[in-house]
């Protein structure tokens, strides 16, 4: 006797307010570059398909939409796309909001200005490394534009504590000899901890040999809220979206 189990896929309803403005903006730009020519500015360029309607024949969840964009419909005429996480997050955010937002009304950041702020007044390079330049204290950002998303960049600049990835938490140790070392956590187990210190050097400690060992939940990156203007933050986000690594 065979027992048939019909799995009920949980359907996630995504709400427009869940999509950060920066993602919608970035997605709108990508849409203009890659999708417009077939789907049209209003999303109705392909017969039988209305991307702006909020309903898709071939996808329900955001994850499925990302799959549709990645795989395309080669026989029906849509090519597969090789988008990274940041791109897909943006495109989906845009598709979900096409009907309520006018693409022309959105002012995107300027990556060149963002780079100048990154290297200049914001001194991001005093903690971060990009393409072989800057400090290794913070994470290397050379390919951060493929790994995260516009919305995440927008948030971390004004609320680093809220975005601090647990693995990145600051470590403070004092060795038996009394030497204090601060750094960013790279790895940890019951007996040892690995981190990158203030000079960007790799350090490993056996906890039993430490006099003090503390992990902080407070980001070593301070907030730029109020220190940079909204358009400067948008410029930084735009710049980070261009950091796609070495090809």
């Amino acid at each position: 006797m065979a027992l048939t189990v019909i799995a009920q896929q949980p359907v996630m309803q995504e709400h427009p307010e869940a999509y950060p403005k920066a993602d919608i903006q970035y997605g709108a730009r990508l849409y203009g570059e890659h999708c417009d020519r077939c789907h049209g500015a209003n999303g109705a360029g392909v017969s039988g398909v209305n991307l702006a309607s909020g309903k898709f024949r071939s996808a329900t969840t955001d994850g499925q939409l990302k799959m549709v964009i990645t795989n395309g419909f080669p026989t029906a005429g849509m090519p597969p796309f090789r988008f990274d996480t940041a791109d897909l997050t943006g495109l989906v955010a845009w598709l979900r909001n096409m009907n309520s937002i006018d693409r022309g009304s959105m002012k995107a950041g300027d990556p060149a200005r963002g780079r100048a702020i990154f290297e200049g007044k914001a001194a991001c390079g005093s903690c971060h490394r990009v393409n072989g330049k800057g400090s290794r204290k913070g994470p290397d950002l050379s390919d951060i534009g493929t790994l995260r998303s516009a919305g995440y960049f927008e948030r971390i600049l004004v609320d680093p504590n809220g975005q601090l990835l647990p693995i990145n938490r600051p470590v403070h140790v004092v060795t038996r000899e009394g030497k204090a070392v601060d750094g960013r956590r790279l790895n940890e187990d019951t007996y040892t901890v690995q981190m990158v210190d203030g000079e960007g050097h790799l350090q490993s400690f056996v906890k039993a040999n430490l006099r003090e060992f503390r992990i902080s939940t407070k980001s070593a990156m301070t907030s730029y809220r109020g220190e940079l203007q909204p358009d400067e933050l948008a410029d930084l986000v735009a710049y980070m979206l261009t950091l796609k690594g070495v090809l």
């Binding site: 007044k121 914001a122 001194a123 005093s126 903690c127 490394r129 393409n131 072989g132 400090s135 290794r136 204290k137 994470p139 290397d140 050379s142 390919d143 060795t175 030497k179 204090a180 070392v181 601060d182 750094g183 790279l186 790895n187 187990d189 007996y191 040892t192 690995q194 990158v196 210190d197 203030g198 000079e199 960007g200 050097h201 790799l202 350090q203 490993s204 056996v206 070593a220 990156m221 301070t222 109020g226 220190e227 690594g245 070495v246 090809l247």
Partner: protein, 567 residues
């Protein structure tokens, strides 16, 4: 509004425990002066695989215990040599991952995955033999024939240079050799009809600086050794044989600052087994080439196996040693070759000084006065000694200036019945040109083989040694470098692909396919310590220091095992 960023920076700054200094060209030149580190594939530019460390001694080695193990997540033979720089160990694992670990605990700092672009064509699996280092950068060749540079402190990709076309059978498995401001690599693909080369790249930018083709083109010296096809040839002969003539490079070369020459061994001619379709000596296959490090220009060469038909790659590590030879000091190159002979060459001029079989050899009967082997091909169907895997192979030798002995792993009594078949070159297709049957002599009539006996296969098999020593067995051999006379031999039942490292306390660390890590006395060959690691070893051990303690690292199966003395 003032920015508080610089304050944050000051708070984060703190002294580092281990001094992690940049790896200057000078440090690489004097690598043997810092034995706690392992800075190049063979330990130093002269490729002695000898360490000045001496805390582990013949007297205390019995106390050797497991310090830590790192397990590769990817199955397959593991042939890499780690680098150790100021307490951080850098390894490669399949297919082209790089991992940075704490050398004292084996805990991982970062790992990097290289995504090979296409399905690479490699004869023998997704092998990679290791990294090069300069400054704050690591260098790795990839299976899809690119060269990548990584930030050694965080594993981020700095540049990538395409070296050759993977779809045409090119790959890089060799650990790069870094000299001055250059990263030198060679290409694999001897079974795919490549035209081999060695090339140097700018460590800073990845730009190619020079390229030396190991098969010379028309008009270049050596091209004349690719003879025109005879007009009356009854068999297939390829008039453009040189274009896919092989001479791959898959084991790291050496460097002599005094001559500014870099020395590299080259692989078999292509196709492997059918010399009839590529008449001539086929330079510079199965040879050693001495190149000017700044320009890549050939200074001299010596061909170990002219017109090779046995896949006798000369991809051994060139050992550079200053020895007494027939009463005179000689800047020598010591070379135990896959073809079964031990050689001494003058590394300044390339002059042949000595050639002497170290195992049973029947493909040649001796040398003429120029050092050219007098070849004696065996009749069709008869076994050739040594067989396909050779008398030795890519396994690293060791030279101890303390004992004055040269050490290398050997395969004894292993034979193959070779056959040849014409093969037309097609890009991306296998280019063997024949085959090989293992030969296990029958007891009653040793000239005949047992047709169904398991012969010595390539690299992998299960834990039961079903070919047994009747099909060949391994040993670690110590010879007088000037004469090739054996000083001692440590025999194993199974064969061995494991090189050696010797130390300033006269220890020799090695292993084999049986899975034993073994510590021998470098002066006598006496077994001092062994441990069953449960899977075959395929890399060559290294020794290093972390936190003031000496360790030995070996790979067996998917494990990187690190041993040290108790606290």
């Amino acid at each position: 509004m003032t920015l508080r960023r610089y304050l944050g920076m000051a708070l984060l700054a703190a002294g580092s425990l281990a001094a992690q200094n940049t790896v200057t060209p000078q440090r690489l030149l004097e690598a043997s002066k810092e034995p706690g580190n392992w800075l190049t594939y063979s330990g130093d530019y002269s490729s002695h695989r000898y360490s000045g460390l001496a805390k582990i001694t013949p007297a205390n080695v019995k106390g050797l215990g497991l310090a830590w193990v790192y397990q590769s997540p990817v199955a397959g033979s593991w042939e890499a040599t780690p680098l150790v720089v100021d307490g951080v160990m850098y390894i490669t694992q399949r297919p082209n991952d790089v991992v940075a670990l704490d050398a004292a605990t084996g805990r991982v700092f970062w790992s990097y995955r290289y995504n090979n672009l296409e399905d690479p064509r490699v004869c023998c699996g997704a092998n990679n033999r290791g990294l090069g280092v300069l400054g704050d950068t690591l260098f790795m060749g990839t299976l899809d024939a690119s060269l990548v540079a990584l930030d050694r402190h965080n594993g981020h990709l700095l540049w990538k240079t395409r070296v050759a076309e993977a779809k045409a059978g090119y790959s890089i498995t060799v650990a790069p050799l870094v000299v001055k401001d250059k990263v030198i690599v060679g290409v694999g693909g001897g079974e795919w009809g490549i035209r081999g080369f060695i090339a140097a790249y700018s460590a800073a930018t990845g730009k190619e600086l020079w390229r030396f083709y190991t098969v010379p083109g028309p008009g270049e010296p050596g091209h004349e050794t690719w003879l025109p096809c005879p007009t009356d040839s009854k068999e297939y002969c390829d008039p453009e044989a040189w274009k896919h003539g092989g001479a791959s490079v898959w084991v790291t070369g050496s460097y002599d600052p005094a001559t500014n020459l870099t020395y590299w061994g080259t692989g078999n001619a292509g196709p492997d087994y059918n010399p009839v379709q590529r008449p001539g000596d086929n330079l510079y296959t199965a040879s050693v080439v001495a190149l000017d490090t700044d320009t890549g220009k050939l200074r001299w060469h010596y061909q170990f196996t002219p017109g090779d038909r046995y896949d006798y790659d000369a991809v051994q590590v060139p050992v550079l040693a200053d020895i007494q030879f027939q009463g005179k000091p000689v800047k020598a190159m010591l070379w135990a070759n896959r073809n079964g002979n031990y050689y001494v060459l003058d590394r300044v001029t390339g002059k042949f000084l000595l050639g002497k079989p170290f195992i049973k050899v029947n493909w040649m009967s001796g040398f003429d006065t120029n050092g050219r082997p007098i070849q004696t091909p065996q009749p069709v169907g008869q076994p050739t000694y040594p067989g396909l895997q050779g008398g030795t192979n890519w396994y690293s030798p060791s030279y101890s200036p303390r004992t004055g002995l040269m050490y290398f792993p050997i395969w004894e009594d292993q034979a193959i019945v070779f056959s040849r078949i014409p093969v037309a070159y097609r890009e991306g297709n296998g280019f063997g040109g024949g085959g090989f049957q293992p030969f296990v002599p029958s007891v009653g009539d040793p000239k005949k083989g047992i047709p169904t006996a398991a012969g010595v296969p390539n690299l992998r098999r299960g834990p039961i040694n079903d070919w047994t020593d009747a099909a060949g067995h391994g040993a670690m051999l110590a010879v007088d470098p000037a004469t090739g006379e054996p000083k001692w031999k440590f025999s194993m039942t199974d064969v061995t692909d494991v090189g050696a490292v010797t130390t300033a306390s006269d220890l020799l660390f090695t292993g084999g396919r049986e899975g034993y890590m073994q510590v021998l006395h470098a002066r006598t060959g006496e077994l001092l310590w062994k441990r069953n690691l449960g899977a075959q070893m395929l890399n060559s051990p290294i020794t290093f220091e972390a936190g003031g303690k000496q360790y030995v690292a070996v790979m067996a199966g998917l494990g990187l095992f690190v041993f040290g003395l108790p606290e």
